[in-house]
């Protein structure tokens, strides 16, 4: 209890963040880590959609919008204001006039036009293209039918007009690091690949491929007085056990924790003071393939939800580093229904449902899973005995992440367990279950429900925020009832930080991605100088 209290206080302190508590200290080095396995792809953030790469990109680059972790929504970053037309399709941005690239040149509307046009280069297949595609005419560029995006117009150096193809909030698209604004001419040069120039708070100093990236304070950053620290180093550290040693050895300032370390850190009187816990927008699920006969029956899918004691798994195996899932939308989603209850653990009910569905003796299925500790085979291993109790036998099919993503997209599975983004925009995220969304996009369970489609279409069309949220809540409720998946949990991201590191933000989209300009290190840091 006490530990929990300490953790919550720590959380409160951090969220309270910049404004209160202490005055930020200038100087020193922030020693950050990139914990997600592989090395950085390269120094062109347009080519990578990985969280691992966004971690360094946040230091060097900025996009049109940024994610406000405290408000839990995208906010304008490179523009001072935006005017939206009555039909909600034309956005006119007044750009910042104090944003300078690291070579000293001022950002203009041309840079934005250039960047978005680059992203639509069909021959290059930039992953950010899917976000820019909401601008009218972007697809023509991608297909090579046009040189310019017709819906993107420079009015003057500091004003730009954007016409969208549908009524969505472009903030959710253009806060992504994949859409970072590049300096138009410089980025075309070859040297950009080795020495990136951006608008971010830190300018690039050095990159040792596979090891770390170093950036130093950009004096002309547009936020007054920021950034505070002189330098940021981002070390690539995929190995959790090694990261643990390095953190305890005070070689790094922050570390993302897995379940086992979460327990250890919570139990430690010193380490427990520096834990930041955030409900992230990832939903862990077991997807069931409707073309596998037993799973075509709703009752069987529900039975699975009843048969698994998810709370016990979360408590014992995931070590409370997760929140019980009720349906698809996560806790931090604006359309999350607080009154919705998760499926209770009820093996008797499960047996009954199975019997009704014609499987009184149960059945056997093949469960495709990776080795991930939070949403892979370890979870499946804990589930196996529970399903065994209601007569369902499980055969594990181990695969790598890459294969899992292909298998889910091709439908070549009976069941899979995965972690999927379920935010931050509830509408976008729920669209993955719209019957018009192909399996190859993200409707992995080929979900098809007329009522659900209608609710979603209405939500997309309406201007009434309350109605939209109401519709999405209902749609989310249908998902719970129809149970195309076993709703397991929402990730609780936990970051351990050293006592001298201040200003972390509870970023629900991905905790490891931080705005470095809001952070500082106080004098007790080994790298305070």
């Amino acid at each position: 209890m006490l530990k929990k209290l300490i953790a919550t206080t720590a959380l409160a302190l951090v969220i309270g963040g910049v404004a209160e508590a202490q005055t930020p200290r200038t100087g020193g080095t922030i020693r950050f880590t990139a914990p997600y396995g592989s090395s950085f792809a390269n120094l062109d953030i347009h080519t990578s959609n990985r969280a691992q790469d966004e971690i360094w990109a946040k230091a060097i680059h900025r996009a049109l919008y940024n994610w406000d972790a405290n408000a839990n929504k995208p906010v304008l970053e490179l523009a001072k204001e935006v005017k939206v037309s009555g039909d909600g399709l034309v956005y006119t941005y007044k750009l910042r006039d104090d944003a300078y690239f690291h070579n000293g040149r001022k950002m203009t509307a041309d840079d934005i036009v250039w960047t978005f046009t680059r992203l639509m280069d069909g021959a290059k297949a930039y992953p950010g293209a899917r976000y820019v595609r909401i601008i009218k005419g972007a697809i023509d560029v991608e297909k090579g039918q046009a040189k310019e995006i017709s819906g993107l117009r420079k009015i003057d150096d500091q004003t730009i007009e954007m016409t969208l193809t549908e009524k969505v909030d472009p903030g959710f698209n253009f806060y992504q690091a994949m859409t970072s604004i590049y300096p138009a001419d410089e980025a075309a040069k070859e040297s950009f690949a080795t020495k990136p120039i951006g608008l971010g708070p830190y300018k690039f100093v050095e990159y040792v491929p596979g090891s770390r990236l170093v950036a130093e304070r950009w004096e002309k950053f547009y936020k007054p007085g920021q950034p505070y620290a002189d330098r940021v180093t981002v070390s690539i550290m995929g190995e959790a056990s090694a990261r643990d040693v390095a953190f305890r050895n005070k070689e790094i300032d922050a570390s993302i924790l897995g379940p086992t370390q979460y327990v250890a850190y919570k139990a430690d009187p010193e380490l427990s003071k520096g834990l930041l816990e955030v409900p992230e927008v990832y939903t862990r699920v077991m997807g069931m393939n409707p073309s596998f006969k037993p799973f075509s029956d709703k009752r069987v899918r529900q039975a699975i939800n009843y048969a698994i004691d998810a709370d016990l798994i979360i408590k014992k195996l995931v070590k409370d580093k997760a929140y019980r899932a009720t349906s698809w939308l996560p806790i931090s989603s604006p359309a999350y229904d607080k009154d919705m209850k998760p499926y209770p653990y009820d093996p008797e009910k499960a047996k009954k449902l199975l019997a009704e569905a014609g499987y009184p003796q149960g059945f056997e299925f093949e469960w495709t899973a990776t080795s991930n500790e939070s949403w892979g085979i370890p979870i499946v291993e804990a589930v196996i005995p529970m399903l065994e109790k209601v007569g369902i036998k499980v055969k594990i099919k181990p695969v790598e992440g890459t294969v899992l993503s292909e298998v889910a997209r091709s439908g070549n599975y009976q069941a899979f367990i995965w972690s999927n983004t379920s935010g931050p925009d509830p509408l976008t995220s729920l669209k993955c279950f719209h019957s018009a969304t192909p399996q190859t996009a993200c409707n992995y369970t080929q979900f098809k429900n007329a009522e659900f489609d209608k609710l979603l279409d209405e939500a997309a069309a309406t201007d009434d925020q309350a109605k939209r949220i109401e519709n999405l809540k209902k749609a989310n409720g249908i998902l719970r009832e129809e149970a195309p998946m076993w709703w397991f949990n929402y990730n609780k991201a936990v970051m351990a930080y050293q006592p001298w590191l201040k200003g972390l933000q509870p970023n629900a989209t991905e905790l490891a991605i931080q705005n470095y300009e809001d952070m500082w290190v106080d004098a007790s840091s080994p790298a305070a100088k």
Partner: protein
């Protein structure tokens, strides 16, 4: 006779592992796969759980015992495959010579040049992680030494009188290879095989670390050790016992191999490290 410490100690250690594997169903307390019970997750050693329990609440003692089966299977089967490949290629190449010999030689040099762990890693990625894939991956990547040895022996043996005699008697080539040449090179080949078994057990652990090892339902020591590496500070017993099991097995095999070499292949202490 001289007391051969390495042979005896290695033999005892290895025999222990074999016995543990064979009698695992009798010695184990619980089923290593099905008896996950989260109510007993991460119990320290003692009481009903001699070696404690793991994160899924499974009895580590039982899992380590069953793990012996996996590790022995991995070691023995993969080395058997290696030995068969190596002997077939090497023996025939040395005996027949000619273009076949050149071909086998090139193949061996190529295999030597690709580090076997990297080769195995690639095969695992292609075949998807799992026991069968691992047996194939380790069985296909470590035969070059056996092959070289078999080839060299065949070359030196084929000019021997009794082989020539067998030829004159009209024995078929295959028969000569199997009955005249093979028995005379078996000793050193067994030594290489024994040492290679230890290597296979370690390779399984390394591949598990890289996320490409054996996956459940098999309780393999490598994956147990690798999965538990984050828990070293919180629940060290989960990794200590499989770690010790790997160490004992590989140590036993290495000592056994050394001991066997002294007996079976005395003149070739320096031929292969």
């Amino acid at each position: 006779m001289k007391f051969r410490a390495n042979l005896v100690i290695g033999g005892i250690l290895f025999a222990g592992v074999v016995i543990a594997g064979i009698f695992a169903p009798m010695l184990a307390h619980t089923d290593p796969v099905m008896d996950a019970n989260l109510m007993y997750a991460e119990e320290p050693p003692g009481g009903a759980f001699w070696f404690g329990t793991d994160a899924q609440g499974r009895d580590i003692y039982s899992r380590v015992l069953y793990g012996a089966r996996i590790s022995l299977t991995v070691g023995i089967v993969s080395q058997l495959i290696n030995t068969v490949i190596g002997v077939c290629l090497g023996l025939s190449a040395g005996y027949w010579g000619g273009w076949w010999d050149d071909f086998v030689n090139g193949l061996t040099n190529m295999m030597l040049a690709i580090p076997s762990l990297i080769f195995a890693l690639a095969i695992m990625a292609i075949l998807n992680p799992g026991l069968t894939s691992l047996l194939i991956a380790l069985g296909l990547t470590n035969w070059s030494f056996t092959c070289r040895l078999a080839r060299a022996s065949a070359l030196s043996l084929k000019s021997q009188g009794y082989v020539q005699a067998a030829k004159v008697l009209g024995y078929s080539d295959i028969r000569i290879m199997l009955t005249q040449l093979l028995p005379n090179m078996l000793g050193p080949i067994i030594v290489i095989g024994t040492l290679g078994m230890g290597g296979a057990v370690l390779a399984e652990a390394a591949l598990s670390f890289l996320g490409l090892g054996i996956r459940p339902p098999f309780p393999s020591w490598g994956s147990m050790l690798s999965d538990a590496r984050d828990q070293i500070t919180t629940a060290p017993w989960i990794s200590i016992f499989p770690g010790v099991a790997i160490f004992i097995t590989v140590l036993g095999l290495n000592l056994l191999g050394d001991g066997l070499r002294d007996i079976l292949d005395p003149q070739a202490r320096t031929r292969r490290a």
